[in-house]
Symmetry: D2
Subunit: 361 residues, 4 copies
């Protein structure tokens, strides 16, 4: 439930309310982004029956109302109505959900310092704003490369800092959350973990930005329901990412549901990105679908870029090169402009993009 303290409520009353809620069996989380004095009160796991308080319209102290109680079931915290102007999420110095469309680029997996650094320099030179790369890799087969783990995290932090790009990387396990948060500016919840509720609950307790990918079988309601797990625990730094749903045609790896971007924008205030790499699984389709993503209003585009795509240890068929990205950028910029947005130019000039630029380190 959502608790709104009355404007005239004192700090003491607010504190008392939180304690009261705690005694009733709720965890009360501050929701500062809705304004001062807002709490989400989430029932603790062990609570079988919700107390009557939940349905009460008002909570009282000393005979007068000090707070109102609202149900969150019908329209949750992720609902557009809660924040019509939209949410802006800051990742390092980069804002997602604002006037500028954001480009996230980097390798599927961190493979080595050389590979990551060369790729990072390449995508920065091409105009990307955030560096992505996987250290912990969820793989269909247990016999496939599972990522470099801690070593990969360290490389991401080092290379991100060196090239000046904030880092996005996936966290798979609840027990790795703190470690990953120390090394990356944004934590990705992969499609397979969209409904890994213990993981979402833990991330909800952080103030670290989260990139929440859509499960291939998730309805919009389920996707926003997953985001609600984060918001209800006080973390509104949530960016959604459409990456293709399960479809029946196998020419593409998944069916990229671009209309979902516009649909989620009308349902929710959260920014939405698109991942054409997983969405299509084919290098040859990435430029066209990235353009479509910007045109449909995506707040960002995530692309798998590898300095030598043909040598990528994972997702080889869907990786593009930094030069491919550089060639794509002007049309993304022009489309963003046509749609009333822009794509921020990073400080480096595009002329610097050359083999030399990312091979001489």
């Amino acid at each position: 439930m959502l608790i709104r303290m009355q404007p005239q409520a004192t700090a003491h009353e607010t504190h008392a309310m939180r304690q009261h809620l705690h005694r009733l069996g709720f965890q009360a989380m501050a929701l500062e982004y809705l304004g001062p004095g807002h709490f989400a009160a989430v029932p603790l796991a062990e609570l079988a029956e919700l107390p009557e308080a939940e349905t009460a319209a008002q909570l009282r102290a000393g005979g007068h109302a000090i707070a109102t109680v609202e149900s969150l079931e019908a329209a949750g915290l992720a609902s557009r109505s809660r924040r019509p102007e939209g949410t802006r999420v800051r990742v390092g110095g980069v804002e997602i959900g604002g006037e500028e469309t954001v480009i996230v680029a980097g390798p599927c997996s961190v493979e080595s310092r050389e590979q990551l650094l060369a790729t990072a320099l390449g995508v920065r030179a091409a105009g990307a704003h955030l560096l992505r790369g996987g250290a912990y890799k969820p793989r269909t087969s247990t016999y496939s490369f599972q990522g470099l783990g801690r070593q990969g995290l360290a490389l991401l932090a080092e290379v991100g800092a060196a090239v000046g790009l904030p880092v996005v990387t996936e966290v798979l396990a609840t027990e790795d959350v703190e470690l990953v948060a120390e090394h990356a500016q944004m934590l990705q919840v992969g499609a397979r973990n969209m409904q890994n509720f213990p993981l979402l609950k833990k991330l909800g307790g952080l103030r670290h930005p989260v990139l929440l990918k859509r499960s291939p079988s998730a309805t919009l309601e389920e996707w926003l329901g997953a985001a609600e797990y984060l918001l209800a625990r006080g973390n509104d730094q949530v960016v959604l990412c459409e990456r293709g749903i399960r479809g029946f045609d196998r020419y593409t790896r998944n069916t990229l549901d671009l209309a979902a971007v516009a649909a989620v924008h009308e349902l929710s205030h959260l920014p939405v990105m698109v991942d054409p790499s997983h969405g299509t699984g084919r290098r040859s389709l990435i430029a066209a679908t990235a353009r479509a993503a910007v045109a449909v209003g995506a707040d960002g585009v995530c692309l798998e870029v590898h300095v030598r795509p043909e040598e990528s240890v994972s997702d080889r068929e869907q990786a593009i090169s930094p030069l491919d990205l550089a060639e794509l950028m002007p049309s993304l910029r022009a489309i963003a402009t046509a749609c009333g947005r822009g794509v921020r130019r990073p400080p480096v000039r595009e002329a610097e993009i050359s083999d030399a630029a990312y091979c001489t380190m």
Copy 2:
């Protein structure tokens, strides 16, 4: 099979070859768009076994080869490799598949002269190039309005001529093909009829342009296989139209598969349009998905436009008004330009779009 006459083959030899094929049990259809002297030889329905000739590499007359024979199974006539530069389809004075992105607009159903004329004037003023409208309506329920039939066709022909827009309309029944072709410049095969093979065979015998919508459960292979029914009978004036596939989320009516546009462009030389109206089923999502369609490279966009959307007798939720279309056009033009194409400006100025413009006739 594909028969290629040798360049030096005489008219007499070509004629003899056609007769020979006929005796073997094939229908030989000229494929002029592949160059002079090309035939598709399609086995007649009654033919149980293909004659050996099919696998022969060469057909001979007077001791020397006069033609080569190729299998069409592996890569059909719709394959990009057959015509790398792409096919351009002419509908009235409008070219589909060329430099310009084409806008097709009009009501779901023809309801009355007033409704059609007002809508047609509105979409022309907004910048549409072709007028669409349904006279024969395939409806899930037999108790729903099934269209005005012949009367609707007559109105389409009259209004199309009056406002100067070529007409696209659906044909449902084999026995209506000639009648519809007399009234419309382009014949639409609806999604439910994509594999209505008797209908496709009949349309393959015409030289009338066909708009072939994708069935909601069709793979790309099945869709192109349906086009092949037309091409193999000599009709290459085929435009494909993605209109949403069957998906699991019900927020949208269908799942608009925009990546399929780019995929079909690499597989086939046929132009591809997108129908965001059926693709999303929601008025509020049409502008964004139409923009994405242009960005992904669609050769045209089909939109359901009604002069008074809220009064539409069918597909009310997905109809936009002529003014909505007029507001959408500048961004479609800008995106087309950003992608290296354009959207032709019709002779009328946009300033003419007003209630007056389409209500005073």
Copy 3:
């Protein structure tokens, strides 16, 4: 709309009512299966607006009510509530929808007299009740064998009569309906034509039993809506057939939706069959899914059986042999019994099933 004449209405009044409906723009079809004096009044195609009569509660003659009018939109003629006891469809001497589960078997395509006769003898000996076989074949590729056509029909009629099994075969084209109806006891509408409304309208005008296969992308509502096209025109001899819907896994050709059988049984009074051959596309899965079909309550099972499966010209991977069918029958019978039904034993004894039995003719 559904018109119910009052019990005391005279034949003259009934005739007058039909004429009245005709003048209002409706086609009035007798629905004897709902009892005497019932009509479905289906608006003619050219009718733009429904007359007020539809919403009137009563039609009057000479000052008193002679009929009541009901909307069919909400719950149509196919609805279980119209006939709680269920519909029984008679095909030759075989009843579908009664106490006995019916086995339909035969080759995908009629290939030759020898192939059809040997297969028909084999399936009869194994215990099948109806003979299936395709003369007009809808094929994804125009270059694939399209069936023997008229010649195939003649063979079906001849062989069906010779072995004593009523024949089920597909009709693809409206113009073939009469011809096919002369040669077969039941007409199949294939999955691709489930919403071929001109074909359904024509079949609705016959009193020939129809086997209506589900489109791979049809919801239950769409499937029953297609059946309604037949029922509303007076043909209630309709059997539905689940044959697999489009799914994302490619190990099976389709996803066999067996729960749909139970679902349709609660929604509609029409019998439902299951086609495990198309439903799975794999010979090795047919026995298990046929058993499941009987267990879920299917009124019949359609199986592709070929005397030499490995030589089948179409759907080779999913054909079983007559001996496979014979081996399957005892478990189908036992399951039917376990579910309170039976599988009628044909007059021939199973001991006759031998290579000799169907190879010596």
Copy 4:
């Protein structure tokens, strides 16, 4: 990779081999169920490159081969070829995958001692072999009841022991694995966690039976790939459970893919259960689909049963009562017999099933 020690290898050599593998960066897990001297060698998470050893055909000690190395990529440990006779999993005294079909029944959520005990007595009296119930509940909405947690586990253990039924319950979080394993005889991995690889890796290290539900968007390859995570770590006590995949029709909650049971039986040696409750989401369809599950060859059926279905706090629409289960059992038994299996009769007589039986404790 799979390491097979030579039959003559000594215990010392086996030990040395494990140490050697460890030094190479692998975790070596004994696979006793493949016979003595078998190891799965799974690369540790931090391992970027697989050592050459993986591709070596033989490992040597003192100049002679002591072990062979096989790739597991192509056909994994779950492959039918590894154990053609099938795997039998023991849960308490109940065997899954043997001659008898196993019935798992119980409430969606543990709500109270009274509810659980009454339900458990009811399902035992009806003939169920295992008791299911959720203590940790994964819920689409964070505002829905999340289960009683530890208290629910304690009730499950207490009631399971009291009524004499082994307990199956879901584990959501890696950190809860030990706790849940102390309270339940079988651990369920829910559909949403099918690819929660850290959870699977942890469960792979136990010898506790695991019930691995299929994700609604999982292909068979992905499902078996998830099982492989368990098998490769030495836990072969794995039972798969089909519970419906994501489909496009909303009459049922999911599309129950019964053919998948037969398909997995030919691909893998692992037992497969079916959950008609989640598979259909409708009480009225459960009996028919449970019968079909037995007929298609399922090794067990999981059913949501609640002593008062209409009061269930979760999944109310799909819960049946103990009396419903009792009525269903005879047909399940008869079908199992028809398919050459049985359903073990528990010691209590069915006559005991009455309201009295489970309300007087």
